[in-house]
Symmetry: D2
Subunit: 392 residues, 4 copies
């Protein structure tokens, strides 16, 4: 089990984000970001699971992000599959691939439009309960409540997840400034632990450097409160030094022009080392992570774990495979020193290196954030376009 | 057939590069860059074929890059599969997926270590012949000689390919400065057409802007010579404004820190339009292309082709899917105008926007470029490291 | 007098930094940074005073930076003039030009090698006393203690300056993190006001944005303590978003490659407005400021001051002079909107946009910072070069 | 005389551009760019001459740029001084300062609105003649025809200058693409030599790298034509890798946001060496050059010239003066190796590194370029603003 591994001091390598990776492969639609592909295109989801397993992941997380019924019905997006079908298919795929290697299956839930639309605690918990029922029936190994911007909703999720008796991990998508109501990372972590989470941390919205920094603040908070927990981080694979409190969603490049920000494998090795040094033992990724990013984590921590991942069969550590390159000046790059020092160019001399984030200074409770089932109309979009243009 | 389509004025969408995409997925080793995965991990290769098909590709190119026997034996890289096994498996996979949609199968050969090591014309042609035999036996629809730095070797390849009676396309990996012996793009194209290629163009080594410019020069050369041909381009998905004659191989970021240079889908739409305007009708990609890049080509040229690719089921044209996003300021990005004007930031303020290429000013014939079968020794690497460090 | 003007709510425009401007003109040596030019090349100093006066400065600050006797003898730098001669000449030049317009003369003292070398309070105060004696004899209008990294030394200076009965301004060269002993800007300001300064603020070491932010923190501290003061800012004319606590000294570009960081006149107008909005009424500049930068401050605050500076005779507000340019597309730049939106390119695609500062984590009290009179020997430099190279 | 020096193989160091330097000091108005300050504020012009002399200049060029009568009357700019007064005052100042050191006086003429407005050869020559009369009367040492975009007008100028019997230098403000009518640099140079110029070269509009490259092309042209000449270069002190044929005028940053492009002193030493290696012996500067830039040229070529300039009294070669800096990590920068390798950051992470030039594809003969005496009206400006905004 996950807790046995963490209690024993093992490093657990997580997987990467499915929605972004599958969007690039043609199976997830940006905007709704829903995971119907688990039922619709299982071969694509299975293949991505396999690649992460091969890259060194110890956890196959069910591809059930935003698979709550209220989200699946959101904004005019019609579905060919019920929420239950999607959740079941995702569990089956995760289990199938986990069995091919040394991996656990984690059932995942995430934040809901119901909470953002100010529905009651009962209503929101009912949403979570429907997903949990599938996870229990499919007997996943543990549960993850992830991608919450408000610690209150995460607490509710943890409370529901705890009813299963399975281990519970909880991650927020916040940075050092805290959740969208201004609760500090330390206080957030204490509340999640008190709600019953055995593993707490951060996922998505910020780059590895920021996420590790925020998990450190969570750890300090938990320790100061005299509590105990394990820590996890699943950051973006995008550099985001210019983010505000809301993270990469507010960067003007989100979600279709983030390419120049993608981390290299060497950036990832640095992240893995820093996360490890910060006491984080569940180390994975989120949006932007491709299998080779996860492999870089596993390679950096190979001394601690005692082995390389299967995928390293096709990778020379620190570029050593280049000793077989045709040209001698490329063979001269077959070494750690070269790649660690390199400051990679963007090839984009007409572009800046940082952006000014959007974000209209509102959060849960504001009318602009009430979610609707109907498709957004042109009449609704027009004032948004105008407002954005004036802000530029 | 491919010629019927091109003769009819159709746009043919190519696929993207397999070695880079599969390297990130854990199935190809950077350095040797050989395609043994076709035999070793067919499910991964099949899935990538499917993603390109779904993205709109009309051609499934066999994953036989560098699958010549002399390359497979190169530099201490031991193989579990014979060249024949790899070539056969690649043909079967391409055909299997092509049959799932409207696609042709193209058998591909590429430049050889034998040529670089100054072997005779007969020796080099024998190498090509072995791959061709498999393509004939597996009855591919047409043949592509691609990724040649010296037009002479490409001519030899075309001559061998022509013996099959199948249509032949030939692409060089050169830029406006011409091949590594200084033959201009126009002259190169004329020689390839005279050797028997019906389709000529450029693949790899340079970004779309450079490739389109170079194909234009080829077209001018062919027309000036009173010849006729179809034109194709399969560029990198990396911005390379800072390349010298040898292309991205010589950029210090090659191959492990190219991330900041990756093109966005909007960059790709611009490429598709410029290629089309230049009279290129076989429009695809090479290293760095992911399925969503190919889809962007198919979406840009949907008016000309009359349909969207299957993968657009999961993509709102020009970001329109964002009208379903949770936050109103992200919904304000659901429009063409927004994405066309955006200058995406790198998130890397400590990095430059252009690099100075390596490249030691040598080409075929120089002793430093003689290839060997044995693994490169530390004694061989040490002087390369020293030379590179002094050059920095 | 200065206090009458500030008490009346007037905006006082300061001058720019003399050492950097005169270094570029060939009269100050970078490294020692001493002001012997006041005696040696009075025509150059007089001309710079005149240009600042013409640009709108209300204060002619004596060119007596680092003109303490202990600094003038520092590190093997031999002088043809005594400290007294330099201080006297500087007073005469300032007074001569001030009389040509509406300006006051301010005598200035700055931090001393004696303090850094841990000399006693009495020793340090004796150093200041020698400069003050000249200022009293030459009857300057008020006094400025500027460029202090440690608030303690600034307090000592203020105490000496107060003995003259003249108004005293005191500025530190610190940022939001406080002085080099970690005293916060708010606490620093309170200590300076209690020591007797009527005007407090920040000069040098950081860009305008950072300086205004820091003065705001000083103002909050002073107001929270129930005290009263006037506020001044004299920042760098260099963008320094990447500075650590020690400011631009620690940037690798200091002092000979700062050019790409130089503020435009439009950046300066933004600074003037932000300083004014923050309640700062003594608004000037320091290193990097050229006369046109000061003019930009005076032009931005012309509505508040009721007049344009003399130098605006040769400047069209917001680029309006371009309506006389030869080429119509340059005439199209004759407007505020154009210049405010422009993001100026560096023309340096091989350079980054931010640097990692040096700074060896030491301050007053550390042996490495003890100052010496003898020239630095090669034996002393060698270990510094080695240490720096390893740190790169 | 200038020819004796050049014939003897001496390096002649030119001065820097007066209009830009004096604009920053408050004595020249950007837009008209006229030199009335020679008569209006002689102390400012004299001081700048002195600084260049001290920095190592061997030539004091009269501050008579755009001092032709037709330009002085241009676009509603009213003058308190006649053209003759300005030209006379400029000659006197240049001679006065030249006498203080080892410098020659050069009288300068530049392109005219009359030519751009398609006036006749006679009309244009009459304009030049009026300036020349003053130069002859004041007995300058030689003449320079500079800043011509069309070689035809430069030829006319040279023909007029030749009538004086004094040595004549002629520089165009063009790049490798040639003059605005498309005449190549080589052909331009041949025409200027045939018209009678003994010294030919390039000034303004492009950075040193581009100018040296263009002068090389001129030299090749002259040598190929079997002619002889001396060569000179007086480039910008701004990096302009992104210019089109019209040079920095067309960069969106011209003229008020060029700061990030300013060359460092180390960039200048590189320029001096490259110019020298290209066979250029008259090496100076134009817009953007400050005295310390000229000093850098003189320091780089001190081995060839046999002495350092007077201004080096205040400058340690290659940063050696920093061995006297207070902080040891700054003393570690007192060496050539450090400054040569440094890639200076812009401190502007929100800005790009290159720009897209304006330029509406028109030149002499187009109605939009006809010059007028009356001030530009708002009615004339409005369509220019609109056109520019659409182009953005």
């Amino acid at each position: 089990g996950i807790l046995e591994r963490l209690d024993a001091g093992e490093v657990v390598i997580g997987d990467g984000g499915f929605v972004f990776a599958l969007e690039k492969r043609g199976y997830v639609k940006a905007g709704p970001w829903t995971p119907e592909a688990a039922a619709e295109h299982p071969e694509a989801v299975r293949q991505l699971h396999r690649e992460f397993l091969r890259a060194g992941s110890n956890v196959m997380q069910t591809f059930t992000f935003y698979a709550s019924d209220d989200k699946l019905e959101n904004r005019g997006h019609t579905q060919r599959f019920t929420g239950q079908q999607i959740n079941e298919a995702a569990c089956d795929l995760a289990r199938e691939v986990a069995s091919e290697g040394d991996a656990l299956v984690a059932g995942g839930v995430s934040q809901t439009p119901s909470y953002l639309s100010c529905k009651s605690e009962d209503d929101v918990k009912t949403i979570f309960k429907k997903q949990i029922d599938v996870f229990v029936q499919k007997d996943v190994d543990f549960l993850i409540a992830e991608y919450f911007e408000h610690v209150e909703e995460a607490e509710w999720a943890v409370q529901v997840l705890k009813t299963t008796g399975k281990p519970v991990a909880a991650t927020l998508c916040i940075g050092p400034e805290g959740d969208l109501n201004g609760v500090s990372p330390g206080d957030c972590a204490v509340r999640l632990v008190k709600a019953g989470a055995q593993i707490v941390g951060i996922n998505c919205h910020f780059d590895p450097e920021t996420c590790v920094k925020t998990v450190k603040m969570m750890k300090e908070g938990v320790e100061k409160a005299g509590l105990k927990a394990h820590y996890m981080s699943q950051p973006l694979a995008y550099h985001t030094p210019d983010c505000n409190r809301q993270g990469f969603i507010d960067l003007p490049e989100f979600p279709f022009s983030l390419e120049p920000r993608i981390l290299t494998r060497w950036d990832m090795q640095k992240y893995a080392r820093e996360a490890y040094n910060a006491g984080i033992r569940y180390i994975g990724g989120c949006c932007g992570f491709e299998p080779y990013h996860i492999r870089a984590l596993a390679e950096e921590l190979a001394p601690e774990r005692g082995f390389l991942p299967a995928g390293s069969e096709k990778h020379g550590t620190w570029g050593s495979g280049l000793d077989m390159h045709t040209k001698p000046w490329v063979r001269a790059r077959a070494r750690r020193d070269y790649w660690e020092k390199l400051k990679p160019a963007s090839g984009r001399p007409f572009c800046p290196s940082m952006s000014v984030p959007d974000g209209w200074g509102i959060t849960k409770g504001h009318a602009d954030l009430m979610q609707q089932k109907e498709a957004t109309s042109q009449d609704q979009l027009k004032p948004l376009f105008d407002r954005a243009d004036k802000g530029l």
